[in-house]
């Protein structure tokens, strides 16, 4: 009984053999590894699973330990788990090392705690140097087993490159610190050095020595033979048959021997071994885990599975093929264990593998992992590359994703995938046209369409859409929607898309007319909601649509409004042209655009097809991944495909421009009525008038009376919602103002003023209305009211803004007086304003202040001219005005002001102040700024004439003779000037000569 027990555990398939296992068969590699380690060489054993790596490690450490070496063995799988942190990794590596070296764990713990200021990696190497190498005086070998485990790790948590760099560092330090000569590492696992290292400069593998594990040799297999002694058949013969099957594969050999020993009675002759092998390995399904592992290592390899299968195919046919170590597929196939190198050839490792991994298996495997789109591609080829056979949707996505991981895509496959992409793009563009899904421009359109869909599909998300539209309107001035609005709009768009898909039973025209109709006549949204609410959620869409369409017709008949008829063709084509043309400036933006969206574009592609690149970057129907995809495949595309892509992109651009054109025209018609209706549904009071004023401001009031009345009614229905009555009155007055109902506008703002008589906003509004009605007396009366209020506030607090407001109002008031020819008062008010402006300028010569000052000087000059006959005041204002204008140009590069005009005026008034040089100089400068203002030449000529430069003057006078300048004949204008000058007592003897030359000589 005892004896039999022993027999049972004599052989051991799987797991490492204990150091004292009787069945261990020594190989050449044992001595190689042993000798390398004795020479302190860094070693690695990277080979297939179950080749006896760990068993050899146990044996060799036993041998080394007998000679006083200290051996450490670390199994990485015993440390790593999904969430092991970097610190835990290094700590556990050390703690296992200490454990094996019999150093107390407490020491490590304390040391670690005391050195928390070092980085983890530093702590690790410092501990090796300062503690391990100090405390252990013997040679140390650290075996790191299951090294391939690190490949499955998240490399951000544990940088394998760092880890290997430390090992390499230990080797490099030998030169400086001889203690390191006592430390050697050995790595064991199933991997290629490439799999393990990402950074080749830090790899320890190029300083290490690989140890190849060969298969067991029958000649050295005495220990196995002894284990088989109890069997009735001659153990030599038995073992020979076993080796015939296994080729000396350690695990397979152990497994058969162990099975023989477990059932010694069954082995009656040699052929019973074959039977046993059949039961153990050659079953219908692969049962043995070693065989399963080989199978999985081949089939589950993401990149090389197909190539590996192809190699196996060749091997099955030709028995052997030339070995090539630069072929990764071959390397991985070796790592699976299925094949081995033999005299420069690749052969299948043993008869068991050969029998299991046969033709039948291969066909099956090929079937399992062949191209996911193989059938589709065949169909495409059969149909003569027909569009109908292109991949679509999810399948296409997956095929492309799959193709990205492959390195063996054939040109046909490439063409097929590119083709499908093109077809998809083309189809999507149609979809996009239909859906109006232009993302940035879409805003209100999103919301309108979302509404339609909410109605049609019976989804009662209407409320949120209205809210979003409300927000969108309020935010219309902002260049971008806020995040929330975007989210709402996007979710509505999604609903829209979903619903339009289910609406595929209607034709495009019908859909288009629904959209247009609803956009044009949003009043019907309410009706449609009612219809929708009567229908069940899954109601028949068609029935619903019929109702919509019939209502569309009725409405068209009633209102006579036909969408988009009020614009001209030229306007249209201009718009489209402007939108679709790609300018050089846009091409220059490519790099910036690409950088912004994190896309890399091959420079060759960029140079060769800049338009395509630009259009792809800007194409709203693509996302980042798709864009990147195109850029990466453009180099592989055929010229036909390229031009097809260009065509698709251009068409999309054009169609989108068309949509935009329509949209921009319709945007004006955004429905104020619905907005007001929605506001009335809000539960809260209206505290701000901003949104509604904005809506009024953007609304296009070109509408018939009936509709105007409707909106008016809706507005008045809102009245109780306003928390302050005057707010409503103000809104109403603005409404009438925009709707060109001035009397009502004035009436309502007056109502508001009766509530808040001091409110500047309302007063200004009223003044504005009077001004537009050209009722300047009333306008001035309003200013008379505003000015004291403002004056009072600036005398109590000196806030610059109020002072500016005061000054501006003074100017406005003055300008109003200009209309009633009350120049004297106008000048006074203007001068008051100038004082304030001057004061502000002394504080801060900002652009705004200078601009305002310039304008006021200009007006002041104008009034002074009307009041002051000798012109000296006007001259002063003009001079200052010109110099401020100059400052604006030089300092702020601001050409918006009429500085040329200021010089022109300056040159004219210089003449009256006898400053002819000044007149010439400023006329010249004026002409520099405004060369088209011919009469400045007049001033220049006068300057020359009066400063006795007759020839120069004459030349100019004659140059424009007979020409009309702003409706006036040049000669007449010169004569008028002479008259004015003479009136002011400024004459010149040569004036007469000029009059003569111009044919305007008077007969005294």
């Amino acid at each position: 009984m005892e004896n039999q027990n022993q027999k049972k555990s004599y052989f051991q398939p799987g797991g490492s053999l204990p150091a004292d296992s009787p069945t261990y068969v020594k190989r050449k590699s044992d001595d190689i590894l042993y000798n390398y380690l004795k020479e302190s060489k860094f070693c690695y054993i990277l080979t297939a699973r179950q080749m006896g790596k760990s068993s050899m490690r146990v044996r060799v450490s036993r041998r080394l330990e007998a000679e006083g070496y200290a051996c450490v063995s670390i199994d990485l799988t015993s440390i790593g788990s999904l969430d092991t942190t970097t610190e835990q990794w290094y700590y556990s590596l050390l703690s296992k090392t200490c454990h094996d070296l019999k150093l107390p764990g407490e020491g490590l713990r304390n040391w670690w705690r005391e050195n928390l200021d070092l980085s983890t990696v530093q702590r690790f190497s410092a501990f090796i140097q300062q503690v391990i190498l100090k405390k252990i005086e013997n040679n140390i070998v650290i075996f790191i087993d299951e090294i391939d485990y690190i490949m499955s790790l998240d490399r951000s948590k544990f940088s394998t490159d760092d880890f290997f760099a430390i090992i390499r560092h230990c080797y490099n330090s030998r030169a400086d610190d001889p203690a390191y000569n006592r430390l050697t590492f050995t790595l064991l696992g199933v991997a290629t050095p490439n799999d393990l290292m990402q950074d080749s400069t830090r790899t320890p593998f190029n300083i290490g020595y690989p140890v190849e594990l060969e298969l067991l040799d029958l000649k050295n297999s005495l220990p196995l033979k002894e284990g088989l002694d109890g069997v009735s058949v001659n153990s030599d013969d038995l073992l020979k048959v076993v080796f015939d099957w296994t080729g000396g594969h350690p695990y397979l050999t152990q497994k058969i021997c162990s099975s023989i020993c477990a059932n010694p009675g069954r082995i009656t002759d040699i052929s019973s071994v074959d039977q046993l092998v059949g039961e153990l390995f050659l079953t219908e399904e692969i049962n043995d885990h070693n065989l399963q592992n080989v199978n999985n290592r081949i089939l589950l390899h993401e990149t090389y599975n197909i190539q590996m299968l192809e190699i196996i195919q060749r091997l099955l046919k030709m028995r052997k093929i030339e070995s090539d170590d630069s072929d990764f597929a071959q390397l991985y196939l070796k790592l699976s264990g299925l094949v081995k190198s033999h005299n420069g050839y690749l052969v299948i490792s043993n008869r068991i593998y050969e029998t299991v991994f046969n033709e039948k298996w291969l066909t099956n495997a090929m079937g399992k992992i062949k191209r996911p789109f193989a059938q589709d591609m065949q169909r495409w080829l059969d149909l003569g590359k027909s569009k109908s056979a292109a991949l679509r949707g999810e399948v296409l996505e997956q095929a492309c994703k799959w193709a990205e991981t492959r390195e063996d895509i054939t040109p046909t496959e490439n063409e097929f995938l590119n083709f499908s992409r093109l077809v998809r793009q083309e189809e999507r563009q149609k979809e996009i046209e239909l859906l109006y899904s232009r993302k940035l421009k879409i805003r209100n359109r999103y919301l309108i369409l979302a509404l339609i869909i909410a109605i049609i599909a019976g989804i009662f998300a209407v409320y949120s859409a209205f809210i979003a539209r409300d927000q969108a309107l309020a935010a219309k001035k902002q260049s971008e929607l806020t995040l929330q609005q975007k989210r709402i709009a996007e979710s509505n768009l999604k609903k829209l898309k979903e619903s339009l898909v289910t609406l595929s039973n209607i034709d495009d025209n019908c859909r288009q007319s629904i959209i247009e109709y609803l956009e044009q006549n949003p009043t019907l949204w309410g009706d449609l909601r009612k219809i929708a609410s009567q229908e069940e959620i899954n109601a028949q869409y068609e029935r619903l649509l019929e109702k919509i369409v019939s209502r569309l017709e009725t409405f068209k008949n009633q209102s006579g409004i036909i969408p988009g008829e009020n614009t001209s063709d030229s306007e249209h084509s201009e718009f489209i042209e402007k939108r679709t043309k790609i300018t050089d400036k846009e091409i220059k933006q490519i790099d910036q655009l690409a950088k912004k969206s994190g896309i890399t574009i091959p420079s060759e592609t960029k140079d060769k097809y800049p338009e395509i690149v630009y259009m792809t970057l800007k194409c709203p129907s693509m996302n980042k991944i798709e864009r990147q995809y195109w850029f990466s495949i453009i180099p592989t595309m055929t010229p036909e495909q390229i031009s097809r892509l260009r065509e698709i992109l251009e068409t999309e651009r054009k169609k989108l421009a068309e949509i935009d054109y329509k949209y921009e025209n319709k945007l004006k018609g955004i429905n104020l009525l619905n907005y007001l209706n929605e506001l009335s549904k809000k539960k809260t009071k209206l505290n701000s008038t901003d949104g509604i004023l904005e809506a009024i401001a953007v609304f296009d009031f070109k509408l018939d009376d009936a509709r105007f009345k409707e909106i008016e009614k809706a507005l008045f229905a809102l009245k109780p919602k306003f928390s302050k009555v005057h707010d409503f009155q103000y809104v109403a007055s603005q409404f009438y103002h925009h709707a060109k109902r001035p009397t009502l506008a004035v009436e309502f703002i007056k109502n508001a003023l009766s509530e808040r008589p001091q409110k500047i906003k309302y007063l200004e509004c009223l003044a504005e209305y009077y001004k537009e009605q050209e009722n300047f007396d009333e306008e001035q009366k309003v200013y008379e009211k505003i000015l004291p209020i403002l004056y009072k506030s600036i005398s109590s607090v000196t806030v610059d803004n109020t002072r500016i407001q005061f000054a501006d109002t003074l100017v406005k008031s003055a300008l109003s007086k200009d209309n009633t020819k009350n120049f004297k008062d106008a000048l006074k008010q203007c001068q008051k304003a100038l004082e304030i402006n001057r004061d502000l300028i002394n504080k801060n010569r900002s652009k705004e202040n200078l601009t305002r000052y310039f304008d006021n000087l200009w007006y002041a000059g104008h009034f002074a001219d009307k009041v002051d006959n000798n012109g000296s005041l006007t001259f002063e204002y003009a001079k200052e005005c010109a110099s401020i204008g100059e400052e604006l140009i030089k300092k702020f590069n601001d050409n918006s002001r009429n500085v040329g005009g200021a010089y022109s005026r300056l040159s004219w008034y210089s003449l009256f102040n006898n400053q002819y040089e000044e007149a010439i100089k400023s006329a010249k400068r004026g002409l520099e700024l405004k060369p088209e203002k011919i009469w400045i030449f007049g001033n220049l000529a006068h300057g020359y004439l009066l400063s006795n430069q007759f020839e120069k003057a004459k030349e100019i006078y004659l140059k424009y003779k007979g020409k009309k300048i702003e409706e006036k004949l040049w000669e007449d204008a010169v004569m008028e000037d002479f008259e004015e000058l003479k009136k002011a007592g400024i004459t010149h003897p040569k004036m007469k000569a000029i009059e003569k030359l111009l044919g305007r000589a008077k007969n005294n």
Binding site: G15, S78, S81, L82, Y91, K96, S152, E284, E285, N293
Partner: protein, 505 residues
Amino acid sequence: MARVFISAAQLEPDAKVAGAFYDQLKSAGHNPFWAAASIKIGEKWSERISEELKSCDYFIVLISKNSLHSDMVTEEVRKVKELQQIRSSDYPAILPVRLKLPFGTDTNYDLAGYLNRIQQRLWQNDPDTKTIIDEIIKVIKQGRTPELLEHREIRLGDIKPHEVLLPNAPLELPEGQVRMDSPFYVERDVDAKCFEEILKSGALIRIKAPRQYGKTSILSRLLRHAANNNHHVITISLHFLEQSVINNLERFLKFICEYSASRIKLTPMMEKHWIEFEALKMRCSLYFEEYLLESTDKPIVLAFDEVDRLFSIKHISDDFFSMMRGWHEESRTNPLWERLKIVLVHSTEAYLGVNNINQSPFYNVGFEAKLPPFNMQEIYNLAVRHKLNLNEDELSEIMSFIGGHPYLVRRALYEMSYNQISLEELMSSATSGYGPFGDHLRRYLWNLKEDPNLLNAITRILKEETCKDDRTCYLLQAAGLIQGDPPDVRISCSLYKKFLCKHLF
């Protein structure tokens, strides 16, 4: 108003008490559900029960002699626990009431585990009905859930699931005392092998069999055998662990360590031996090596029951099994680890160690004990012990009808022996949902109907005897419903086949 599900066997006194509870709850304005009163004839009971379980707030379970062997009651409790875990909520709250079954007499291993930490009420006679229902109504009114008690030890050795079926077996076993082998336990070859294996140093035994094949019985005998041979015995039934523990590697490993320490009467000493710097698996290994294994001379058997639960939690199972494998490997070179022996009990081998091709597989490690069905000889022997004299024809009839399915065989023999039913009668009433196997069969049907995948697969197997999906195969095999090597599989026995055909087609 609360929805209350009453789970009770339809026998007395259970039905009487349940009926009273039902009426009282109703008149208190609640919405009670009790299958006997609430399900109308012709209604689809399995759907209805699932529905009610999902929507109930409180779940009253009456535990009695009757319900203890009811597969349905156990399954309902299991489903409620599952709902609590899925929802991470205390609802449906379980309110257990024991009918004439004193505390500490847990004879159903699963139920005992599920209800372990829940406060229970004891019903002795009629006057108790009012007291208990008043208390329940009060609890419901206040929206409370029953208080949790300390984790109580469920000792495997105390519970012998099969014995409750037997006429002579005393229902109430005094706590802590292990009754030696039941005369009805069928010892098989695999028992002896396991007994031998467990005494070897560094043993690792994997007991694998479908549901109700007697895994827990053999485990409890095996552990008793180990205890008698001077071993420490630690059992962790993964089925009863809270989801939050089993989902988190750190908590899970810490639980294993603390629990193991307490089982071998050591203080856990976590602050000293649970080292935060260490990687988790290393931490756990060192805890065992430097503390537990170091602190005792006796070998330790660490047994995990219902390991299947880990299979679906990939991030835990990879690490857990690689650690187990590591410990087992360690025993070959490290004498300290020779003292640790591991037993894993599971009904499937779905994905066992094939998750990661970069890691050594687990499924070839240690000794695998597959529990086979009973053979003819074993059935005969068992029949004799039941004082039944069966001839060869009858035996082969049993064999062809229920295969060698251990539970079905024992149930059949029990019915024939205790209730004096003839084999013919037994077979004619067998496929009824309320016959001798009714409870057992209904449970299958219920679970199948809950999972459309399984339902489709089993329908296909009934028709074509093939199943393409490996995972579904594993699940059905684990349930004991099918046999064979995928994809060629068949229904385990003609009882199942007839029952399923009757209810599915």
